[in-house]
Amino acid sequence: MKFKVSQHILVPKHSKVSEKEKKKLLERYNITLKELPKIHKNDPAISELGIKKGDVIKITRKSRSAGEAIFYRVVI
């Protein structure tokens, strides 16, 4: 049986951010791509998303205090 990383309870939902959204995000927080938190290209949680360096990953975390929290990481 093949085990899927995304099904594990510790792994939140990862999704790729489009170029347009990416630009909007950087503008909203007034930052450059370099200043975002990072995620490795070979991270098991994003292996199926078909990403390349410089892409931004949107992470929808389940949070005890906020219900749902959104976090961004840039692929390095």
Binding site: V5, H8, V11, P37, D43, S63, S65
Partner: protein
């Protein structure tokens, strides 16, 4: 309703859901007014810009940890298992140690196994068995230079092993000897006639550790009941192999080894695991630390995509400022290395400004003033 979607962008989901629950049957005008009030309240309770959140998190956790016991915790039951808890465990997690003092796993099982079906059998299949566990006695024949190994039938039956499997595993290990099976006795004979007795003793020592069955690294197993299902707690950890087993519920099984989780499930899972591990200790000690402090620390440890402990090799080495790095530990090394490559210090953070007797960029020290000349 439209208004809910609009505020979903501005407010955390939990607050929106709460408002939705309490405003059933109200007109949309009233709901809008409520939302405006809630939003004002939310904004006013956010952390101010320039607040030194890291310091507050450190104090909150540090003050509580002085009250923790240094004891290790023991599971009740026949086969006792000790797990590091309390302050040593917190230090272990936050330092980002690679080798843990007591690695453990919590293995959840799929239905119907989680109701107790075949649990002993599954547990036995998970536990690592080495040759030494199933051997009654070793005897060395000095004249023929052979080793006779008597296997324990009962123990092998418990693990549902047969002698031929064992003999195969033993012969696979090394080409120095040949293995012959005689009932439940393994006879090892050296192939090279010129070997001496010393070699025989060396081989005897080496074969004790041969892996026969089970999962490598799992030294002890303990099936326990948690709420209304059975889970297996282990000493020793090997998440990768355990998740491959058919009986195991791969979606819930966890280990306390953060690095193993990082390698297998990614950085986000590792972050969550750090939070869970710290919270587990805090809860077991009856301490009440706000979750957000732990979140901040876990986020700091995971920002660069790898796990960095709160040590001089970890997050501190990632700081941009030379003086800040030098102020933590081993100052000379940092300053010399920085001088060698001609590093620049922008004085953007707290410690370096304290050193230079300037106002620190925290709170009201953060904004700079710009004067407009007329």
């Amino acid at each position: 309703m439209k208004i809910f979607d609009e505020y979903k962008e501005k407010l955390p989901l939990k607050i929106v859901e709460e408002v939705r629950e309490h405003t059933k049957g109200l007109t949309s005008d009233k709901i809008k007014k409520i939302f405006e009030k809630v939003y004002d309240e939310y904004v006013s309770s956010l952390v101010d810009a320039g607040e030194s959140v890291g310091l507050i998190a450190a104090e909150s956790l540090g003050e509580r940890s002085t009250q923790m016991t240094l004891n290790t915790f023991h599971f009740a039951g026949v086969s006792e298992m000790s797990v590091t808890l309390g302050l040593p465990r917190i230090i272990e997690v936050l330092d980002g140690r690679k080798t843990l003092s007591t690695p453990t796993m919590e293995i959840y099982l799929k239905s119907p196994y989680n109701k107790g079906k075949d649990i002993q059998k599954i547990a036995a299949a998970i536990k690592e068995t080495v040759l030494d566990d199933i051997v009654d006695e070793y005897s060395i024949n000095i004249v023929d230079l052979t080793i006779e190994i008597k296997l324990n039938k009962e123990k092998m039956k418990e693990l549902s092993l047969i002698p031929s499997v064992v003999s195969k595993a033993v012969s696979k290990k090394s080409k120095k000897y040949s293995v012959k099976l005689d009932g439940d006795v393994l006879v090892l004979k050296l192939k090279n006639k010129e070997e001496n007795l010393n070699e025989v003793y060396k081989i005897k020592g080496a074969i004790k550790k041969i892996h026969i069955s089970g999962i490598k690294g799992i030294n002890q197993i303990l099936p326990v009941r948690r709420k209304d299902e059975f889970i297996i707690i282990t000493a020793g950890s090997n998440l990768k192999e355990v998740l491959k087993m058919d009986e195991v519920d791969a979606t819930r099984t966890v280990t306390n080894d953060i690095y193993e989780i990082h390698a297998l499930l990614g950085i986000e899972a590792a972050r969550q695991a750090i939070i869970d591990e710290v919270n587990k200790v805090l809860e077991s000690q009856g301490l009440d630390v706000d979750l957000r402090h732990v979140l901040l620390i876990a986020d700091t440890m995971c920002t660069i995509g790898d796990i960095k402990g709160i040590t001089r090799y970890g997050v501190v080495s990632e700081k941009a400022s030379v003086l800040a790095r030098a102020s933590f530990e081993t100052p000379l090394r940092h300053i010399i290395n920085a001088a060698l490559i001609g590093e620049k210090d922008e004085l953007n953070s707290v410690i370096e400004n304290v050193m230079l007797n300037q106002s620190i960029p925290v709170g009201t020290g953060l904004p700079g003033l710009i004067t407009k000349f007329k």
